[in-house]
Symmetry: C2
Subunit: 445 residues, 2 copies
């Protein structure tokens, strides 16, 4: 839908046409179409959305727009929207809105729903509980397929998914039946004959990243969430798992580039906020790099005697940093995907050690030859080759050890990425380099 | 299921127990349980899997194990498995197996399925066509809900999903009906009254990453794929979209760390292959860094006169590199998520410029103060602060421009990440630094 045409119709008061457009459009697209409206026009356009779609449109809007709209709503409109929204969307809404708006919302929903919302709001931020919904279809073992279908027809409209149904016995989950099973079975088949009893489930406090991994491993559409006593409390659906996968990858990449992650997109984040997210790590890393500088001053006499030594500092630093970030990236991603654990530390180190021998050898030979050809100095070529060899090995080992150690002490392994590794490896490589150089050229440090 | 117990039961010939275990286990878990078996034991265990689960187990195995099993299968066993496998899994299988095994498989499937497989194999590697399946439920507009349900009962078992049904008119897609619509509608409702006609679809040659983005944007369970003439040829399901999201994030991170991506996990990849994936970029970057070294030699007299200048090289290089990789990471991820496009180039540059002013200012002041306190040298503090300011601004601009340029010329933006940016920024920052230093200290270059 063309935004300009839509705006024009709206401002000209062609409400019939606007309504017709909103009628055929997807809720997600309507949400982004309304994104640039405000005030009276926004409220007007929103009121033209077909009632059955309004809650979904609202759930897909940005927080700013949601807050604006809530201020424009009458009490009844607010009640209607909140009534039609899925519980997990309501919780998402509350988590990001200013406190005064939250109060108004909590006052507008029924006591029962308020109790449920408060329960969901209390789960830790990264837990399965925080992304689950408590709206699922529950069946009983003694039902027939026909009874189950009738039950779904009655309660299904308000459930986030009806494609996976849960067979409960006094709140305990005893089986799973898919809509496919129901649709392809005979009407008088008993649910207990149909249900799958080998159940894969998660706990409310499980890490949401691990929950998302289960979805990509088993190709589920929904996963049941149990509380500490093994009672069923809700489900996580595949669309929420997909969001987790995308968000976690973004967060890891951001953290790996020494930036404090933000939930907003690049352009949504203000210049000041961007600076604030980036400065802390830059300052820490800058001061750490100053240590490397201090080490260099200790070897002032060495490069006063052989100035060409200084020329190889950038190459050694860059290569060390790159080797380290290669290893740390592979390990960090492996940890995130559940492929590498702390117990694999020595296995990973042994692998990185062998890789670094091959890599170090080839880089040393390439660089040694270049130096021999350019400077015709065998000792210099040897010093550089040897320094490279040590730097590469050290960089790869540091790059593999630190993320796994971080995981062990419950830090995010993504912190131990390129920038930090680079700074650490720099210090070591400069130290190694000048040690080797002073020894071979018989210089005093 | 405990692996050791399973092995013991298998080797003792307790086939009844083994079969009972395999009967209740999830296909994905069986596949990973069998992962460590080989030869006669592998074939034996596989034959004990309930027939309706065998194809799914097989589809979830590693390529090595699949190839082993195919060699152990009789012609009939192979035919049965291939017959029960979804078409997209068969295609995945063929893409990764050695040629002789592929020939045997193609000979075992029906001419019709062979034709379809060949068609799917011909889609470009990263296209929607390469991840789609042609097995979907098609309905007609004149059907009633009861007729549609009967149709699904008849054909549904062999379809990858029955939850989204497609209403076709002479192969042209005219509407979409969900299983939820069917289950909650009256039996005699006509499909054309029920169907959604505002359809979001993709083309066979669309990039699979963009297709995956549609899933996370609209929360679909399946998306229809049309050919160039607008005829329906298949569907992409949410589980495949989830795999694309995970794989693309891994590929981007790997590429961003200057490694050629591999499809295998960290430990599955051999030491030699790891080295091979990492060396090319290291060599290129090492030789580029050598240019920075050559620049330094031109300023030999400068640091012979003021040796302390050398001590600030690591700090400037690291900070420049970190600033550049912060910007490039945010831009690269923004491009991957469809939030930033080439047309946003100037908007992004303007944003980065303002961010770099704040960041540069704070880093310069912090460092200037440190130098004033440590060395009590105002000129030196000024030189370093000014160099930092220029380096930060340049780094952030390079980090924002290069990924967008890469996108424009259809390279993967992820190449323009930390390592390459760092090396480029290094060269510039050293040049800036010595220019400023020689000017302020009145040294000859």
């Amino acid at each position: 839908m063309n935004k300009d045409i839509f705006m024009e119709l709206l401002s000209k008061g062609e409400f019939k046409a606007v309504r017709a457009i909103l009628n055929v459009m997807n809720a997600v697209d309507i949400a982004s179409l309304l994104q640039e409206l405000e005030g009276r026009e926004l409220a007007q356009a929103f009121r033209l959305i077909p009632k059955e779609k309004a809650a979904e449109v609202f759930a897909n809007m940005s927080n700013t727009l949601q807050a604006d709209l809530i201020n424009l709503f009458t009490e009844n409109e607010l009640k209607d929207i909140l009534n039609d929204m899925f519980l997990d969307d309501t919780v998402d809404l509350l988590e990001d809105l200013p406190a005064n708006v939250v109060t108004r919302i909590l006052a507008s929903i029924s006591p029962e729903k308020r109790r449920q919302v408060n329960l969901l709001l209390n789960y830790p931020e990264d837990s399965a509980g925080s992304i689950m919904t408590i709206e699922y279809v529950d069946l009983r073992r003694w039902m027939t397929v026909a009874q189950a279908m009738a039950h779904i027809r009655k309660v299904g409209i308000h459930k986030e998914t009806i494609y996976t149904c849960y067979v409960l016995d006094a709140r305990r989950l005893i089986g799973i039946v898919t809509a496919k099973d129901l649709m392809t079975a005979e009407d008088d088949t008993k649910i207990e004959e149909l249900m799958e009893t080998e159940i894969i489930s998660v706990q409310t406090h499980d890490d949401k990243e691990q929950v998302a991994q289960l979805f990509s491993k088993y190709d589920f559409l929904a996963l049941p969430v149990l509380d500490g006593d093994g009672m069923m409390v809700g489900i996580v659906t595949v669309d929420d798992a997909m969001d987790v996968v995308v968000d976690e990858a973004t967060e890891d990449m951001t953290l790996m580039a020494a930036i404090n992650p933000s939930e907003d997109t690049y352009f949504e984040t203000s210049v000041f906020q961007h600076a604030k997210n980036r400065i802390p790590w830059l300052l820490v890393l800058m001061l750490t790099a100053a240590i490397t500088g201090t080490i260099i001053t200790r070897y002032e006499e060495a490069f006063a005697a052989i100035p060409i030594l200084v020329a190889f500092i950038p190459m050694l630093m860059d290569t060390g940093g790159n080797c380290g970030s290669q290893s740390s990236t592979l390990i960090i991603r492996g940890i995130a995907l559940g492929e590498i654990e702390f117990k694999d530390l020595f296995r990973a180190m042994w692998k990185e050690f062998r890789v670094s021998l091959i890599v170090g050898m080839i880089l040393s030979v390439a660089n040694g030859l270049r130096i021999l050809i350019m400077y015709r100095d065998t000792s210099l070529a040897f010093v550089i080759a040897l320094s490279l060899m040590f730097t590469v090995t050290l960089a790869k080992l540091i790059g593999c050890i630190l993320p796994l150690l971080a995981k062990k002490v419950r830090l995010d392994p993504a912190i131990m990425a390129s920038p930090l590794i680079t700074t650490l490896v720099d210090t070591c490589s400069i130290l190694i380099y000048f040690r080797i150089a002073t020894t071979i050229f018989h210089l005093s440090a």
